[in-house]
């Protein structure tokens, strides 16, 4: 499909509003002006609307397709929450209004949302305090790792290392490194953290351990009580990567279980849309002793019921966001929690786990399931075995696209060969799950007789398989490159 720039016609009028006859040159010296007019598309409004409408039709989304992308929790995004975030009382609010003397009462509704959201997250996870500032999951990890650093610094501890299991999301080690830590990786055993490997790696220099539980194989860390004790015995802190929170709501509270820091991905667990790559929101919760280190500002409720921003936390790690985080995303997550209530959240987790196990069970005679036992909200299958005739996870993924399903996460976690990580979520009905499973089973069967047709997939989409090597080699990153 032609790009916007290829469709542009010089001098075609876009949305010129006849605002003024002035020119910028009336107010600025010539040497401070740009040399030539910016070459943006010149199109009519309808052309723009049509271009993006057509582009949208070249996309899979939860609204149109089953999307069992493991560890991404692609659940249904309730439509009414979009209306909530679009209320002018929220969208028109300038963030600095809350910081003005005399204008604090302009923002009471927004501050109440944040205060109440923090309280709800505290109760769901059993933590003592929250910040809503981190703007994505990885940003939450960085915030958490910085809180861990600040805690040890305040105690005069010289701790330089963070431990991440080999099954951790890649963001964990990357975030720990950005907070100034050396990263130590430990190997899993039977798909979960091996207490002996952890014990061997734990020394006085370890500041914290980052765990995903259930982990990226969809398995619950059954040695958790022992692990918690071991970590706390060396005065290290235990971090909970909340990417997989959709498995445990109402079943375990990370605070009660002994975790010291946790981040959420509101765009996963609490139903806010992922937007094709963001915006997300990654609130961070901490146990009592870490509350003083949370980012500022914090929202405080006064005795007279008013809400104010509180900056008076001298041990705080400081500012992670320009203001209060991705407020528009929080609004949607807040509305979602109010809608579901405690029982609804518990049912969400139960059914997410039920659906994953149902899929696992129906696939156990079809594909290799390396850890074939009761899983949590996701599980991994492995596209190995002679009967597949060389058909790989990638090929199966592409063949699923032809059937109108988004593919599972493939080749992650790295510790399983030809890995396919499936997470159906609770919002898909049984018919959808069965439809997907029937199609997947058909593809695997077809691999026995006609593997080439699977290796040629997809054939029903706007493009067939794309040459990624060429993309990296030629590096055509804008409509203007590739001309030299």
């Amino acid at each position: 499909m032609r790009t916007l720039f290829e469709k542009s016609t010089p001098c075609r009028k876009g949305m010129c509003n006849n605002l003024t006859t002035s020119k910028a040159a009336d107010y600025l010296p010539a040497e401070m002006m740009r040399g030539s007019r910016v070459r943006l598309p010149e199109l009519g409004e309808l052309d723009v609307v049509r271009h993006f409408t057509r582009l949208s039709k070249r996309n899979f989304g939860v609204d149109g397709n089953f999307y069992p992308l493991g560890s991404c929790t692609m659940k249904y995004n309730p439509k009414f929450t979009e209306n909530v975030a679009a209320l002018p009382g929220f969208t028109r609010l300038h963030p600095l209004a809350a910081q003005l003397k005399g204008a604090g009462h302009f923002t009471q509704g927004a501050l109440e949302v944040m205060y109440d959201m923090e309280s709800l997250l505290c109760e769901i996870t059993g933590m003592a305090g929250y910040t809503l500032h981190p703007m994505a999951g990885a940003h939450g990890e960085l915030t958490g790792a910085m809180i861990i650093a600040a805690y040890h610094k305040s105690k005069g501890n010289k701790k330089t290392k963070i431990i991440c299991p080999d099954s951790a999301h890649g963001t964990n080690p990357a975030s720990a490194a950005l907070a100034g830590f050396d990263v130590v990786t430990i190997e899993s055993k039977d798909g979960i953290v091996d207490p002996e490997a952890l014990r061997a790696a734990l020394d006085d220099e370890v500041a914290g351990v980052m765990l995903t539980c259930p982990n990226t194989l969809g398995l619950f860390e059954s040695h958790l009580p022992e692990i918690v004790k071991m970590i706390h015995d060396v005065d290290a802190l235990l971090y909970y990567d909340g990417a997989n929170m959709n498995a445990i709501m109402g079943k375990m509270r990370v605070g009660d279980a002994g975790f010291d820091v946790v981040h959420w991905n509101l765009h996963k667990t609490l139903g806010t849309p992922h937007g094709g790559g963001g915006p997300g929101s990654g609130p961070v919760g901490v146990c009592e002793k870490l509350v003083p280190f949370l980012p500022i500002s914090r929202v405080k409720k006064l005795e007279d019921g008013r809400y104010v921003l509180d900056y008076d936390h001298p041990q705080s790690i400081g500012y992670m966001a320009p203001f209060y985080g991705n407020f528009g995303v929080m609004l949607k997550a807040y509305a979602y929690v109010l809608r579901l209530g405690g029982e609804g959240l518990t049912r969400a987790s139960e059914n997410a786990v039920l659906s994953a196990n149902y899929m696992r069970k129906r696939l156990e005679d079809v594909l290799e399931i390396p850890y074939n036992r009761i899983c949590m909200h996701e599980f991994v299958a492995s596209a190995v075995g002679e009967k597949l005739n060389g058909v790989r996870a990638l090929d199966i993924a592409k063949a699923l696209l032809d059937k109108g399903h988004h593919a599972p996460t493939i080749y992650f976690p790295l510790i399983v060969k030809e890995c396919m990580m499936m997470e159906p979520t609770e919002t898909e009905c049984k018919d959808t799950l069965d439809g997907f499973l029937d199609d997947l089973i058909e593809i695997v069967k077809r691999a026995e007789t006609d593997p080439d047709s699977i290796k040629a997939a997809p054939v029903t989409l706007p493009v067939t398989r794309l040459d990624e090597t060429k993309a990296a080699r030629d590096m055509v990153l804008t409509d203007d490159c590739g001309c030299e």
């Binding site: 740009r34 009905c429 590096m475």
Partner: protein
Amino acid sequence: MPYVPHTEEETKQMLKTVGVTSMDELFADIPPELRPKSFDLPKGLSEMEVMARMERLAARNKVDVVSFLGAGFYDHHIPAAVDALISRGEFYTAYTPYQPEASQGTLQAIFEFQTAICRLLDMDCTNASVYDGGSAIFEAMMMGVRASKKRRKLVISEALSPIYRIMLSSYTSNLNLELVTVPHKQGQTDIKGLMDAVDTDTAAVVVQNPNFFGQVNDFTKLCDHARSVKATSVVSVYPLMQSVLKTPGEMGADVAVAEAQSLGQPLSFGGPYLGIMACTKKMVRQLPGRIVGRTVDSQDRTGYVLTLQAREQHIRRQKATSNICSNQALCALRTLVHMSLLGPGGLEQTAARCMELAHFAAKRLTAIPGVEMYSEGPFCNEFALKLPVSAYDVVDALTERGYVPGFPLGRYYDGLENCLLVACTEKHTREDIGIMAEMLGGLLK
């Protein structure tokens, strides 16, 4: 239960298939001592009830005011078509485009966004966005640190937004980096002072145009100097004004960054916004975040994929260029749609209208006895005033009457308690400005 569609019968069948008799059995791996000590949450509400509650909360925010608040975040008009297009479920309910054949819509849009941003800033390469303008500056500084190998010194101008400067000091606190701040001079960026501070130990230097006080600069000499000592020059800009202002590329900057809220994002109490990062071709492998490249499919048709992923955390883990994973993709799409609807003419005209109103306001307000311009240089849509009294008190008094006259600079700058930062956008009218000026005049009498 909302959003859980299984019937009772289906639930039974599924449990049976799994080989368990109850939901509880599925959670047997969680030992009793790890079970919740409490889960005291409110009962679920109907959609109608939640909506009513949210409407009540929204109504407790006062937005029917005439506000001259800016400070880097501006209330520009957003065409209705922006919301209509980004509300398409195919866009907003998609994930990061890991399966390119099923994500050509998102991928081509990001490619077009990259093209538009590079053209706006005269840079070679850009990514699919980062969280916000502040995190973009941090990531740009880290590009400079990596490119320089061992240098640890970062030079920033005090006329760079203080909102970002406080973020930078948090972000760098554990990284053994030295942040050197060169003071502003009466609201002007001290270019000579910056050139003196940037030496062969410097990894990166960061300036802003227009700066926090609204003052416009040409940083060509500074960028030249940085290049001569092999330091990375980073210029932070106001994207809407880039339709008319000299570009970072024209100035010779290595990295251009921006908060792109002004291009299609509502204020929304601080987010979601999006950070823009663009750089020279030489620095592309240092650039964090998602990048889309054009390629061909097996039938030689044009298509788009995520590229240069070897820099990223899911492959490189702790050695990645950054930990960023989710970005602000939907906001980037908003920005692209917004720019496409306005076109170059619409952007220039909006910029000119903002300037016209700001210059009118400056004239009108400085006609009040005791009120003068704080800085002397050229400005676009925002300027600082020096008042004979505390700017906090002025804001307080006028706000009560429905006019927020600007942002009190004393909030971030010691000694500037009497200074007020005033921003205009195309949404203001001359009448708004006149009424505000009369109120201020009356107050100062």
